[in-house]
C-alpha cells in the first residue's frame, strides 16, 4: 500500500507535512534533514528539487533553491543521496519539483528512480492537469506514484471536483492567492474559502499550505483541512541553524504541540 494512503487511512487530523529544499543549507544535509523531520514528529516529508526559476515561490524558497544549485544539487545527485533512505525513514516522502529539470532527466527514468528509492508521491506545480492526464498518468500509476494537485481560492468548484476525481492522494490547498512565504497568518477571507471547500465533501484529504508557520496557523489550518504544509518558515529555521537535528526537531515540536 502506498504510504500516503496508509497515512490518511490511519490519521485524519493534524497531519503535518514539511517541505525542505534538497541540498540546502548544505549539499549533504538531505538525509539528516529527513531524519530530523521524522524524529520531530512530522507525518510527511516533502523534498524540493531545486530549480533556477521557481515561479510559484517567494524569496525564501527561491534563495534556498539557488543556494542548493550552487552547492551542486541536481536530480541525479539527489537520487544518489536517497539510495537506501527507507532503512531509516518510514513516513511518506513526496518530491516537489518544477517540470523542466524532470523532463531533462527523462520522465520515465525519473519515475523509475522514485520507485527504486522509495518515493510515494509527486507535486509538480507547473504540470497542468490536462497534460498529466494525457501524458503522464499511466506512467505515474505504473510506478505507484501518487500525484498531488494544487487548488487556490480562485479555483472554481467545477475544477476542484475535476481535480478531486483525478487524484487519489491528497489535495494541496494553497491558502491564499499568493506565492510561497508571501503572507503569514490566516484571514477571514481565507477561512471563508476553507469552509467553502470543506463543505464540498471531497473524496481526497486536504492539506493547507502557503502562510502556515507556527502552532497557531497550523491549528487553524487543521480545523478546516486534514492538516497543513510548512515550507518557507521551515527553510528559515534551517537556514541559520548551527545544530540542524536539534533545531528541526524543536521547530516541529513547537508547531504540533
Amino acid at each position: 500500500m502506498n504510504r500516503i494512503h496508509y497515512l490518511f487511512n490511519t490519521k485524519k487530523e493534524r497531519v503535518l507535512s514539511i517541505y525542505f529544499t534538497a541540498g540546502f543549507p548544505k549539499l549533504e544535509d538531505t538525509l539528516p534533514t529527513m531524519e530530523a523531520i521524522q524524529a520531530g514528529g512530522a507525518d510527511i516529508i516533502e523534498i524540493g528539487v531545486p530549480y533556477s526559476d521557481p515561479i510559484a515561490d517567494g524569496p525564501t524558497i527561491q534563495e534556498s533553491n539557488l543556494a542548493a544549485l550552487e552547492n551542486g544539487m541536481s536530480l541525479k545527485k539527489l537520487f544518489d543521496q536517497l539510495v537506501g533512505f527507507r532503512a531509516k525513514i518510514h513516513v511518506p516522502v513526496v518530491l516537489m519539483g518544477y517540470l523542466n529539470p524532470i523532463m531533462q532527466f527523462g520522465m520515465e527514468e525519473f519515475c523509475k528512480k522514485c520507485k527504486e528509492v522509495g518515493i510515494d508521491g509527486l507535486i509538480l506545480p507547473d504540470l497542468p492537469m490536462q497534460q498529466y492526464l494525457e501524458d503522464y498518468k499511466t506512467l505515474f500509476d505504473d510506478y505507484g506514484l501518487v500525484n498531488t494537485f494544487l487548488i487556490s481560492p480562485a479555483t472554481s468548484e467545477k475544477r476542484i471536483r475535476e481535480i478531486d476525481s483525478h487524484t487519489n492522494g491528497f489535495i494541496y490547498m494553497v491558502s491564499s492567492n499568493s506565492i510561497t512565504g508571501a503572507k503569514t497568518g490566516i484571514s477571514e477571507e481565507q477561512i471563508a474559502y476553507f469552509e467553502r471547500v470543506q463543505a464540498m465533501n471531497l473524496k481526497n484529504p486536504r492539506l493547507i499550505g502557503f502562510g502556515i508557520s507556527d502552532a497557531e496557523s497550523f491549528s487553524t489550518a487543521s480545523k478546516y483541512g486534514n492538516g497543513a504544509i510548512i515550507g518557507s518558515a521551515f527553510i528559515k529555521t534551517v537556514k541559520n541553524s548551527s545544530n540542524l537535528d536539534a533545531d528541526i526537531q524543536q521547530y516541529i515540536q513547537s508547531v504540533i504541540n
Binding site: 515561479i55 497542468p128 497534460q131 475544477r159
Partner: protein, 392 residues
C-alpha cells in the same frame, strides 16, 4: 499549415505549463480573447488607436544606399517610427483594450530593454489604469532613459534582483506578482512567449506589421511577397509580426537574427536555437538554453531586449521544421551594423534591431532579391551603450 492548434501548440512547442493558481486567469483569457478581438467594437478602437495614437501605417522605406552596397533591393519596415519608439506598442494597445473589456483594473508587465515597459506604461496612462513594470536590476542600469520614461508616465518600476537580473528574472517576478493578485490584474506579456494563448495573441497584435508590408510592397514593387524578411529575435515578437502573414508562403525566406553575445561558444551568448534544447520556461515548451540538469543558463547580449534564454514557441517550431533560417550575431558586429545604418541611411537603430541589419552579412541571397528588414526600434534608449562602446 503553420498555426497554433487548439491546445496551444505549434508542432512540438507551446502549451500552458502554469501553476494551478494561474489557471483561472489563463482560462479566462483563452475563453474570451478571440471573441472580444473579433467584435467590431474592439476592432474599431484598436484600428483607431493604431492609426491616430501609434501612427500607423509605418512607412516601408527603400534604403537606396544600403541596397547599392549589398546588391539587393532592401526595404526597411519602419517600426522605429511607432509612438514610443518600437513595435512593442502594437501589442500593448491591443492588450489594454482587452484588459478593459475583461474588467481588469491593474496592469503588470515585464520588460527587458524597457521598450515594452514604456509601451505598457503609455497605454496605461492613456486608459487611466494602474501600472507596475518588473525590470531586471541590470537592465534598469543599462536602460536608464526608459526607466525614467516609465516613471514620467506614472508607472511603478520594480527591480528584479534574482538570477542574472535581466528579462528572464523580470518575467519570473511578473508571474509571481500575477499569482499574488490574479483577480483584478491583467498581465501584458511583451513577447510571443508565456503560456497559451499569449504567444498567438501577441503575434496577432503584431501581425499588423506583415499585413502592411504586403500592401506596401505591392504598391512599390508590384508584388506582395519579398524574397526575404529579416528580423531580430529575443522572445521574438517583432519577428512574429513581420513573419506572420508569410508563415505559409514558403517562397518567402524568413531570417531570424539571434544575439550571439560574445560568440556562440563563448559561454556569454543568447543564441537560443544554436545553444538551446527543448524545455519549459515561463509557461511554454520551447527551445531553451539550459544545463544538462535542466537549470536555465543565464544568457548574455549587449542588447537588453535580446538577452533571453528562450524563444517564442512559434519560432522554435519555425526552426524545428526548417521554415526559419536562424543566424547568430555577435555584440561587436551588431554595434558596427548600428553605426553603418546610422551613417548610410540616417537611422540610429536600437541595438536589438542592429542585429537584424548585420544578418545581411551572414546569409546568401541573389542579386536584386527584395529584402524587407524589420526596423523594430530606434536607438535613443541605447545612446549610453553606443557611447560606452565608443567605436564610431
Amino acid at each position: 499549415m503553420i498555426r497554433v492548434d487548439e491546445k496551444g501548440f505549434y508542432g512540438k512547442f507551446g502549451g500552458a505549463y502554469i501553476p494551478e493558481m494561474l489557471h483561472p486567469n489563463i482560462e479566462e483569457l483563452r475563453e474570451n480573447y478571440e471573441a472580444i478581438v473579433a467584435t467590431t467594437e474592439f476592432q474599431e478602437e484598436f484600428q483607431m488607436l493604431l492609426r491616430d495614437f501609434v501612427g500607423r501605417p509605418t512607412p516601408l522605406y527603400f534604403a537606396k544606399r544600403m541596397s547599392e552596397k549589398y546588391g539587393a533591393k532592401i526595404y526597411f519596415k519602419r517600426e522605429d517610427l511607432c509612438h514610443t519608439g518600437a513595435h512593442k506598442v502594437n501589442n500593448t494597445v491591443g492588450q489594454i483594450i482587452l484588459a478593459k473589456k475583461l474588467g481588469k483594473k491593474r496592469i503588470i508587465a515585464e520588460t527587458g530593454a524597457g521598450q515594452h515597459g514604456v509601451a505598457t506604461a503609455t497605454v496605461c496612462a492613456l486608459m487611466g489604469m494602474d501600472c507596475t513594470v518588473y525590470m531586471g536590476e541590470l537592465d534598469i542600469q543599462r536602460q536608464r532613459p526608459n526607466v525614467e520614461r516609465m516613471r514620467i508616465l506614472g508607472a511603478k518600476v520594480v527591480p528584479a534582483t534574482s538570477g542574472s537580473k535581466t528579462l528572464k528574472d523580470a518575467t519570473n517576478e511578473a508571474m509571481r506578482a500575477w499569482i499574488n493578485d490574479p483577480v483584478g490584474t491583467h498581465y501584458i506579456i511583451g513577447s510571443v512567449v508565456g503560456p497559451h494563448p499569449y504567444p498567438e495573441m501577441v503575434a496577432r497584435f503584431q501581425s499588423v506589421i506583415s499585413e502592411e508590408i504586403k500592401w506596401q510592397l505591392k504598391e512599390k514593387e508590384g508584388r506582395e511577397n519579398p524574397d526575404l524578411v529579416i528580423a531580430c529575435v529575443g522572445g521574438g515578437s517583432n519577428a512574429a509580426g513581420a513573419f506572420y502573414h508569410y508563415y505559409n508562403t514558403p517562397e518567402v525566406r524568413l531570417i531570424a537574427a539571434e544575439a550571439a553575445g560574445l560568440g556562440v561558444t563563448s559561454g556569454k551568448s543568447a543564441a537560443t536555437t544554436a545553444l538551446g534544447t527543448p524545455g519549459i520556461l515561463h509557461g511554454s515548451k520551447t527551445l531553451l538554453m539550459q544545463t544538462e540538469d535542466g537549470q536555465v543558463i543565464e544568457p548574455h547580449s549587449i542588447s537588453a531586449g535580446l538577452d533571453y534564454p528562450g524563444i517564442g514557441p512559434v519560432h522554435a517550431h519555425l526552426f524545428d521544421i526548417g521554415r526559419g533560417e536562424f543566424v547568430a550575431v555577435e555584440d561587436e558586429d551588431a554595434m558596427k551594423a548600428g553605426i553603418e545604418l546610422s551613417r548610410m541611411e540616417g537611422i540610429i537603430p536600437a541595438i536589438e534591431t542592429a542585429h537584424a541589419i548585420h544578418a545581411l552579412n551572414l546569409i546568401e541571397y541573389r542579386r536584386d532579391d527584395v529584402i524587407v528588414i524589420n526596423l523594430s526600434g530606434r536607438g535613443d534608449k541605447d545612446l549610453e551603450t553606443y557611447i560606452k562602446w565608443g567605436n564610431y
